[in-house]
């Protein structure tokens, strides 16, 4: 089975989708000849030409607005937003238009666009190349939000996202774009949306993580063993609609919950995850849930490793959850 990193796996998924369905087109800044600033679309311009791999003007609002129009016509646009930090000029088109089209037209106009965007810190990108903005999109009725952590999942989830009838925000953890390597089958396969994966079983505490922070959670979990703590680590993979069944099955067994995400804490996705668990499994909980997250500050450049919820901050949370 071929070894791929996440960039290669996503590239492979895009090529497979475009070969299988000539309605699939890619739009974005620098996605054409140069193959994207992270080379995720490398080689696609040469294979599919400039009408299907489209270097656009530098306008996120224009890219998403025209992609919505293409979707209404019947194409399947896969948009690349160069960094998730640049997505905000398109926010109105995503929130008020793309996400609402099926609903507001009584089903006459389903609008299906996949929006890919690299997310997250730890790459010396400062505030404008490090944000992890899943929460504002999860809050929007009509969107699905995905964030893979492995090359295998990235390929399988992107193929699912492109085939899915609803608009999908596909957030790619760029800190592990090349580090997340593994065996990935050649050819088409899918990982279903809305399914989390228990990536490390354990019986003392449940850790929910996704994207690049999954690896930090796994590192903390392996270090916790020395303290006699067996943490169960769940990779959410699809953030919304979240796989509530897998989460509750785990928390009902462990009785303890730690949630990890890079984005700021207040009204972050962790708040929703904790609420969902507390509403449904309150009497199974042995300790207060703990959130290990970015701080409620803008993302800092020089102090980024202090800002991020890395293993050194997750480990004490695991021990505290089990101790209390």
């Amino acid at each position: 089975m071929p070894q791929m990193n996440m960039v290669q796996a996503i590239n492979d998924a895009l090529r497979i989708a475009m070969r299988a369905d000539d309605r699939v087109v890619i739009l974005g800044e620098d996605v054409g000849r140069v193959g994207g600033v992270f080379r995720v679309t490398a080689g696609l311009f040469d294979e599919f030409g400039d009408e299907r791999v489209i270097d656009t003007p530098l306008s996120e609002n224009g890219i998403v607005g025209t992609a919505v129009g293409m979707a209404l016509y019947g194409l399947v646009p896969v948009v690349e937003i160069q960094f998730a930090d640049f997505i905000w000029p398109a926010y109105d088109q995503i929130v008020n238009e793309l996400a609402k089209y099926r609903y507001r037209s009584g089903g006459e106009y389903p609008a299906k666009v996949v929006i890919r965007a690299p997310v997250g810190g730890g790459i010396r990108g400062g505030h404008y190349h490090s944000q992890h903005p899943e929460a504002p999109f999860i809050h929007v009725a009509g969107l699905k939000v995905v964030c893979p952590s492995s090359a295998y999942d990235a390929k399988g989830l992107l193929l699912s996202a492109i085939a899915d009838p609803d608009p999908v925000l596909f957030f790619e953890p760029k800190r592990v774009y090349r580090a997340a390597k593994g065996e990935v089958p050649a050819g088409a396969f899918t990982v279903p949306l809305e399914s989390a994966a228990v990536v490390r079983p354990g019986r003392h505490v449940t850790v929910l993580a996704y994207g690049a922070m999954l690896y930090e959670a796994l590192d903390a979990a392996s270090k916790a063993v020395a303290h006699g703590v067996e943490a169960e680590v769940i990779d959410l993979r699809t953030l919304w609609p979240v796989d509530i069944t897998t989460i509750l099955d785990s928390v009902r067994r462990t009785g303890r919950l730690v949630v990890v995400h890079e984005a700021p804490r207040t009204c972050g996705f962790g708040a929703e995850l904790v609420s969902l668990v507390v509403e449904r499994a309150f009497y199974h909980l042995e300790a207060p849930p703990i959130r290990v997250t970015g701080f409620d500050t803008p993302f800092p450049y020089s102090l980024e490793m202090e800002y991020m919820p890395l293993s050194h901050r997750i480990l004490p949370a695991l021990l505290e959850a089990v101790r209390s």
Partner: protein, 365 residues
């Protein structure tokens, strides 16, 4: 002599047509357009009355802009697509949207095509190539470009016409849409109804440009000004823009100069920001009156025909209102449909909570 200002005009004061831009409409076509203009104005009046009586929540009308709205849609082909703003119901009806279904939308009933999910005047009708309506201004502009661009990529002969007002030219979507259409030579017709006002704000607060049409030059596309109260000039100008688009010559920005004779909507009182004297010069150039005078001079129309037409429309309208008022609101569970293709677990859970929970005391307020 008309002023030499580059504005396309066809219907002269002596009720003859300037041959230079005469669209060559048959008498039957002019009568068809005239009937729909009259219907649009009459429905506007009736719908405002229903709102004042508290029977519907809202209406956004097109008083004074009927020639611009209907003329533009008439020039487009069946296979073309129209992206409306929210002031163009008359054109939707002319393209085949049924009056009865429109009235269901005005009442938000179970038979509304958008299932009572949007305010009145936010209907949709894909069957007649009519888009879905959004209240935020300008958002349909980039979408219209994307639609025509998608068709171009698929080598299909489809153009789009997008309606918007002068206020929307200030939006980022106007800039993005014009720019993308210019770069990719997309067959979209940008139809700007310059009606003088964006709610209470005059055009001088939207732009320091001398005209809206000249903005096209910055995007490398053609800009044209047309007398929006001249039905013949509007049809001719949009047809030429459509032919350019079909020939691969790209997009056109059309500035239709007209005037919003009423308020922005039923929620607006224009007396608070403009005097009635500003309406006088425009009233004398009423787009419907001009076509009626043209038809009467050619002995194709008279007072009796007008009375018959109004009676017909009124009858159809009254019946549609009666049906809509007897039609129930959409069922509770419809709130959760079409958010996604299939409702995920959280919507099923919330649907059950709604269905099993207490009912609101009354549907509105």
């Amino acid at each position: 002599m008309p002023p030499d200002d580059g504005v396309v005009r066809v219907l002269r004061d002596d009720l003859t047509l300037d041959p230079e831009n005469d669209p060559g409409l048959s008498d039957a076509e002019v009568l068809h357009l005239y009937r729909h203009m009259v219907m649009t104005r009459l429905l506007d009046e009736r719908l405002v009355a229903l709102q004042r009586q508290g029977r519907i929540g809202f209406h956004v009308g097109s008083l004074g802009e009927e020639a611009a709205i209907l003329g533009a849609a008439f020039a487009m082909r069946k296979n073309d697509f129209i992206f409306p703003c929210y002031r163009e119901f008359g054109a939707a009806l002319m393209r085949g949207f049924e009056l009865g279904v429109f009235i269901h939308n005005m009442f938000g009933t179970a038979k509304d095509t958008v299932r009572g999910r949007q305010m009145p005047d936010h209907y949709t009708c894909r069957r007649v190539g009519w888009g879905s309506i959004s209240s935020p201004v300008g958002t349909q502009i980039t979408q219209a470009v994307g639609f025509a661009w998608g068709a171009k990529i698929r080598k299909q002969d489809v153009a789009t016409l997008v309606y918007f007002g002068d206020g929307a030219t200030s939006s980022s979507d106007f800039h993005s849409g014009m720019n993308f259409a210019g770069v990719f030579r997309v067959p979209t017709i940008f139809f700007c109804r310059n009606n003088g006002w964006a709610i209470s704000v005059p055009v001088t607060r939207q732009t320091a440009s001398r005209t809206f049409a000249e903005k096209a030059a910055a995007y490398g596309i053609l800009g044209v000004r047309v007398d929006g109260n001249d039905l013949f000039a509007v049809v001719s100008t949009v047809r030429k823009a459509l032919e350019r688009g079909i020939r691969g010559q790209g997009a056109t920005l059309i500035e239709a100069i007209t005037y919003r004779m009423g308020g922005h909507s039923t929620s607006d009182d224009p007396n608070r920001y403009r005097g009635s004297e500003v309406l006088e010069p425009w009233a004398s150039r009423d787009p419907i009156g001009r076509v009626r005078a043209y038809l009467e001079k050619r002995e194709l129309w008279d007072g009796a025909a007008e009375e018959r037409l109004i009676a017909e429309i009124d009858k159809e309208f009254r019946e549609a209102v009666a049906v809509a008022e007897r039609t129930p609101l959409p069922p509770l569970e419809s709130m959760f449909e079409d958010v996604y293709e299939r409702p995920p677990w959280h919507l099923l859970e919330q649907r059950a909570q709604l269905l099993n929970g207490p009912r609101a005391p009354s549907p509105h307020s």
